[in-house]
Symmetry: C2
Subunit: 315 residues, 2 copies
DNA sequence: TATCCTTACGGAATTCGTAAGCATG
DNA sequence: CATGCTTACGAATTCCGTAAGGATA
């Protein structure tokens, strides 16, 4: 058994059981992959892949168990390499953050700026994607840190920690009738066409939820994944915008007015997520703390340890 | 990086950083071990071992982290092999149980008998040792299941599950004055020389505790690790015995009388322990259930999962 | 001086890529 | 017949044991 074989297995699974693709992805020859996998199966005494003729069509029952363990093995191997990197040079390496547009544009910049100043030698990469893509990237080990408001706390392999809370705000063009309302109601809002985020994004679920609970139907005339797009169309008079409060900047958005609607929609919690079992570089902890000061390294490690801390179990 | 290197590192640590011993233990040459470790260090970019001249004297700081991860890696590798064995043939393999004398002699036999009947192809091995040795064997992976009353629930890497409760009983030679007492007190007992277990054994701590709480001093004239030894000397009139109730058999121990003293000493809980993170063969679960019917496979897996089940953590 | 790690070197085993073979859709 | 896994074989690499070297207690 060797790590090469394990990598081949993992990649083959990731590539939908296509050996040829897996071999290409790993820059090696396809027969080599074939042979190594076969040898691993022989050593373990079970078939990992179910073959029809000469094609892989599924994972066998033991294969599923094998793949799960292989994942953990390769993860620990990564951790081992990180230990090396961490002690060899604490201030260099790479850090990949997967996040949504709103976070990248409005929440992360201060932390990123300070981080770059502190760790000029770290190659920092920000990957923008939908919440589900963020989860995938974290789970595959393609990102070290995820930042988003939706989805993160439903993935069992991730540890999602609350970073900060925020509310939605309504934005309208200057001079809009709604500006006069003292305390906006959902019915007031529903009277207008709505411009807001795509369903999978940035707290959108809380918006739908509030209208649904009130039994009010509302018309979304434009959904953007992007607060800037939404603001642009609101300014053009397309409808009333509902965006994250931090995406409104009175200095810049001079043609718009924000209306406080904290009483209408549930609070949103943006979370920082990391993969359970992954070893974080020291500077990764620092980044998280820069972004969300209450998430200290100690606190995070405590939270991560909590999953292992089950004491004697009384049935 | 390969598994060979990891094994060498683990064994070197286990052998108190003595490369030569490690090489012997692994039936290989010492220069080979030296080279592989050096190469691993080079690959990781850190020294794992601190050297003084040409001798290993300690683990470096990163070395400690490395050793921890290496342990997990090799454990998962073991799990992988077990998956193979489990599916290749569910009814054969080997099962090692580490336990104390009292358990081996009085508690385990029925389960062992039934297990042998059900799984004739499994090589069953019972290893007898002190509680601390049992813990060590489990942690090293030298035993699959531990059964004991003491120590097991203090080891963080073990999952200790309650199997059954039992009480101490006093044994005296037939015709002994204490036989007449209706309800024995600690003072009654302390008037006689005591014959009981060694301090680290079979609920001995509860005995000391009870006398200490009452402020009574007592004289132990003989400590045995072994209920049979204790009974033998009680029969010879050396003193009054305190043993586990299940070790007294009225049929066989005709020269002795047992006196119920449940009111004097705390109840003892015998536990079944397994290593956290270790994969158990199907028949291992069956053995546990034969021994302690309330410990079903489902329940055990639930208990094991509890340690990973930490949900989103609110600071 | 005994113990113990490192270096050097040569034979053995493993790995890996190319080329050719065969089964499925 | 195009795709995709397996088998065969030879070159390159890696592994591993023996022998010798150097450093510490």
């Amino acid at each position: 058994m060797n790590f090469q074989q394990l990598k081949y297995v993992r990649e083959t699974v990731r590539r939908n059981l296509n050996l040829t693709e897996a071999a290409n992805a790993l820059f090696t020859s396809q027969p080599g992959v074939s042979k190594q996998i076969r040898e691993l199966e022989q050593e373990l005494g079970v078939e990992i892949f179910e073959r029809r003729g000469r094609r892989f069509v599924a994972l066998t029952e033991p294969g599923k168990a094998v793949v799960e363990i292989v994942g953990r093995l390769l993860e620990e191997a990564d951790n081992l390499k990180r230990v090396g990197a961490e002690y060899a040079d604490r201030d260099s390496g790479s850090l990949t953050i997967a996040t949504t547009h709103t976070q990248a544009r409005y929440a992360l910049p201060p932390a990123v700026a300070e981080f770059r100043r502190r760790y000029p030698k770290v190659r920092l990469s920000i990957q923008q994607g939908k919440p589900q893509q963020i989860v995938d990237m974290l789970e595959r080990g393609d990102a070290d840190i995820g930042v988003a408001t939706e989805s993160l706390d439903h993935a069992p392999n991730l540890l999602a920690l609350p970073a900060y809370d925020w509310w939605h705000t309504v934005v309208v063009p200057a001079g809009h009738p709604l500006e006069q309302e003292l305390r906006l109601s959902l019915d007031d809002l529903a009277a207008w066409p709505i411009v807001t985020y795509s369903p999978e994004f940035t707290g959108r679920s809380h918006i739908d939820e509030a209208f649904a609970a009130r039994g009010v139907s509302f018309e979304v005339v434009l959904t953007g994944i992007d607060s800037d797009v939404i603001k642009t169309y609101v300014e053009l008079g397309l409808g009333v915008g509902i965006i994250a409060a931090m995406a409104f900047d009175p200095q810049r958005d001079t043609g718009l007015r924000a209306i406080d609607v904290r009483h209408l929609f549930r609070v949103n919690t943006t979370r920082v997520a990391i993969r359970r079992g992954a070893l974080l570089r020291g500077f990764a902890y620092d980044f998280i703390e820069l972004f969300a000061p209450r998430l200290t390294r100690k606190g995070i490690e405590r939270a991560a340890a909590a999953e292992r801390a089950a004491d004697t179990f009384e049935i």
